[in-house]
């Protein structure tokens, strides 16, 4: 599937609102040749430092994900009134052959029907239902009203929508919590306080109090696995031996940019300064390479108790 990767929402413009507000105060430093390559040459492939998504990237990503999930939940086409009515009629008259979800039984799948997919407001569906298809064993339903036929068509189009999925957001209506909660709460608590070292930075009574009410189950699970924020800070040692620290905005082979402690954006050629980066999320990254799936399910089940 090409859509997962190519969608714009996965790669929002790397725009940082802070950068837009402030103007650059980069110090002028002499240009020297490019720095040496950054990655470990002895890889087969060897582990490399994973850098998290940038702050703006992550927030936009999360926002898109959340909005998208919310939008999908709110706009579940099966919740529309005409679709609900159509569902009732369909179950009474059609489901016995075409299946309760219209995906086929002794009769054909209507979700995969060319006629249904080309129908507009019942213009193709209604005549078939009213007149039947005696040659294929489908009876006629002459007593169904125009309104009922329209509702059946709406139901079938809604079924096409909910059984289609262009991206990997998960099913319309979300995941069933009961299928996610397979972990052992006590084991999760032990991992949190022990091997996972989560308690080093987090407390169920403080920053995690009520966390299960704040996020949907899937959001909570992905957030504890790797929070979608960039909290990296950098300390820049200038040629004058002056040190400047702040939130990291950009770092590549050519320039580094931070927002300093006074709130000003500043940037320098990377080769001209010494850079030390600190990432408070490094513990989360480290755990990704250590987790067993059971650990994750246990911790998730424990965190879901923090309501």
């Amino acid at each position: 599937m090409e859509s997962w990767f190519g969608r714009g929402w996965l790669q929002p413009p790397r725009k940082n609102s802070d950068v837009d507000v402030f103007f650059a105060t980069a110090e002028s430093l002499p240009h020297t040749p490019n720095p040496p390559l950054e990655c470990n040459m002895n890889r087969e492939p060897q582990p490399r430092p994973h850098r998290p998504l940038t702050h703006s990237l992550c927030l936009t990503f999360l926002l898109a994900l959340s909005l998208s999930a919310a939008a999908r939940a709110q706009s579940n086409p099966m919740d529309k009134e005409d679709v609900k009515r159509g569902n009732d009629t369909f179950q009474q008259s059609c489901a016995i052959c075409h299946g309760t979800g219209a995906r086929g039984g002794s009769g054909v799948s209507l979700v995969d029907s060319s006629l249904v997919r080309h129908d507009v407001n019942g213009n193709l569906i209604a005549p078939v239902v009213q007149e039947g298809r005696p040659d294929k064993g489908m009876p006629a339903f002459p007593t169904l009203t125009a309104s009922q036929l329209s509702d059946i068509a709406a139901f079938l189009h809604a079924r096409i929508v909910v059984t289609s999925s262009v991206e990997s957001h998960g099913p319309v209506g979300g995941y069933q919590l009961k299928r996610l909660l397979t972990g052992n709460i006590e084991a999760g608590k032990q991992f949190f306080n022990g091997e996972g070292k989560c308690a080093t930075c987090h407390s169920p009574q403080k920053d995690l109090a009520g966390i299960a009410n704040k996020y949907s189950p899937v959001e909570l699970e992905s957030r504890f696995l790797y929070p979608p924020v960039d909290l990296r800070t950098a300390t820049i040692s200038l040629p004058s031996n002056q040190k400047v620290s702040g939130r990291l905005v950009h770092l590549d082979a050519f320039y580094i940019a931070i927002v300093d402690e006074a709130g000003w954006y500043r940037s320098w050629p990377t080769h001209a300064v010494k850079v030390e980066v600190e990432d408070p999320l490094s513990g989360h990254l480290e755990l990704l390479s250590k987790y067993k799936d059971k650990d994750i399910h246990d911790v998730f089940s424990y965190l879901e108790t923090l309501k």
Binding site: M1, L10, R14, S165, P171, V218, L225, F254
Partner: protein, 534 residues
């Protein structure tokens, strides 16, 4: 059920054919550079007449005017604004004219100045995710549309000559790949991944658009490969889209094309088996469409590991023996080297850190680990949710003998979502969450898959393809906003510039009147770079 997908529309009337032939003969005369690619295995040079430049997929140009010593002087010559969100197309250059696309729009542009010559607009329904380019043949331009048509235009003026429906947009079909011209045929594969459908590759007559052959990515009942599906129903809608452009070896008369993931995407539970011919490198006879051999990169894929990445063709020694090789850096994170005559697997090795497989089978195929398939309560998988690489074009440089690929590393979390009936509720049958991802440019030794050098590209994922040239320069972009010219032997930066966003297509090059140009797309803008004239 899928009868409409075989229907074609608005073909030219037969009576018009003689007139058309006269017109085209005139066009061909005026446009002497009719570029049926003849450059394999010698590299493309002055022009860039196919999506990959030539048939080999190496994206290696013989041009040397811009070279390792002078590329630091590269400067902007012109820019062309498409006003589109993202230019994914690799432009073609034929006779001084560039041809490129975004969904619904095709342009012809002066390759020396960036002046628009014509544009063709055709608003359509369907998936507008991307359009990766056109094909050119005998004065005609061919491209696909979001509603799964192939359009043929007069290259002189953009006038439509014919419009053929390839598949039914109502089932989610669209066309995003650039067609490939082989032996007077326009060859195109279908895209589409929103509902469970069968995909196929089709060859059309270049002149009329008439179907010559059509090959499904799924076996027919009775085919031995049908035993890799649990039943005919799942096989009939089993996916395998062919959404990128293939390659061709004229000497072997074999066409190579990668196929995509099976349907439903993540819920392998309803399609037990290897699910041929999804996630395969296919070798086909271009005369008949028959599958001559296949190599499956991801048997029973449950992670959307499309094997559509370019099958790159080159002749080189392998273990001391000269071989006709095919190499692919596949989305599942494995680097495969095959004998392209027989399909024999010579090498399978990961180029990024991945853990979805528990080993390699006797045929060189990864063995999926059931524990790392999407699970109802989620499974953590090392490797980004988007794969170890994707559609961004790789390159093979015969000078360095290195295979270059823009790769991605990270972690994803994968859910299986079934309804109360234990069947997937939708076409995905689950979902994935990308936890963290970083990009890196890798230079691989094709005989071992070992990384000779690598360059951090930045956090996140990108689209930039790669071009190498006889001038000993590698052009690409990173995901930190840089357009780059690198030393292909070491990865050292020779030149860089910031284009305002990340590179969104694959760079290409051509030479006109003794002046070499390198083109890079950045979101909606196409930039042309060259050396100062003086």
């Amino acid at each position: 059920m899928f009868s409409r997908i075989w229907k074609h529309s608005s073909r030219p009337a037969l009576a018009a054919a003689p007139l058309l032939a006269v017109l085209l003969a005139a066009t061909a005369c005026a446009h002497a550079q009719s570029p049926q690619p003849k450059s394999f295995p010698s590299p493309v040079s002055d022009s860039w007449p196919t999506f990959n430049g030539d048939y080999s997929g190496r994206r290696y140009s013989a041009l040397t005017q811009i070279n390792k010593d002078n590329v630091k002087s590269l400067q902007l010559t012109w820019a062309f604004q498409t006003h589109a969100p993202k230019l994914k197309s690799t432009p073609l250059e034929v006779g001084g004219i560039l041809y490129f696309t975004v969904p619904d729009i095709t342009w012809a542009v002066d390759a020396k100045t960036g002046q628009k010559i014509w544009e063709f607009r055709r608003p359509s329904e369907g998936d507008h995710l991307g359009q990766r380019g056109v094909a050119y043949y005998n004065g005609r331009v061919y491209f696909g549309t979001p509603d799964a048509h192939i359009i043929c235009l007069d290259a002189r003026n953009g006038k439509k000559l014919w419009d053929v429906e390839i598949a039914d947009v109502k089932f989610g079909y669209y066309i995003s790949g650039a067609p490939l011209i082989v032996k007077d045929r326009v060859i195109i594969g279908t895209s589409g991944d929103e509902t469970d459908i069968p995909h196929f590759l089709e060859a059309l007559d270049w002149e009329t658009g008439k179907t010559i052959w059509k090959t499904s990515a799924l076996p027919k009942p009775g085919d031995p490969a049908a035993s890799t599906w649990p039943n005919e129903k799942s096989m009939a809608r089993g996916g395998g889209s062919l959404w990128m452009t293939g390659t061709y070896d004229p000497d072997l008369n074999l066409l190579y094309w990668g196929s995509g993931n099976p349907h439903p995407v993540l819920a392998g539970i309803v399609r037990a088996g290897d699910n041929l011919y999804t996630d395969c490198i296919l070798a086909l006879n271009p005369d008949t469409g028959a599958i001559v051999w296949s190599f499956q990169a991801s048997p029973h894929d449950t992670h959307d590991w499309d094997a559509i990445e370019t099958p790159v063709l080159f002749d080189a020694d392998f273990n001391g023996k000269p071989r006709k090789l095919l190499a692919q850096a596949s989305r599942n994170g494995y680097f495969f080297v095959l004998d392209r005559q027989t399909g024999e697997n010579l090498l399978t090795t990961p180029f990024v850190k991945i853990n979805f497989a528990k080993g390699i089978d006797a045929k060189g195929r990864p063995i999926p680990n059931p524990a790392k398939e999407p699970q109802p309560d989620g499974a953590l998988v090392e490797g980004t949710a988007n794969g170890g690489t994707n559609w961004m074009s790789p390159s093979f440089d015969p000078q360095t003998k290195l295979f270059y690929v823009n790769a991605q590393e990270g972690y994803g979390f994968w859910y299986l979502a079934l309804g109360e009936d234990n069947l997937p509720a939708d076409h995905q049958g689950g979902g994935s969450v990308s936890l963290v991802s970083t990009s890196v440019l890798l230079a691989l030794d094709y005989q071992t898959g070992k990384v000779v050098w690598c360059r951090e590209s930045g956090p996140g994922i990108g689209n930039a393809g790669i071009l190498t040239t006889a001038g000993h320069v590698l052009f690409t972009g990173d995901v930190s906003g840089n357009l780059l010219a690198l030393d292909p032997s070491t990865g050292a930066v020779l030149w860089h510039s910031r284009g305002g966003a990340n590179m969104s297509n694959a760079p290409m090059t051509y030479q006109i009147d003794g002046h070499q140009y390198v083109l890079t797309g950045v979101d909606g803008v196409l930039y042309a770079w060259s050396l100062p004239s003086d």
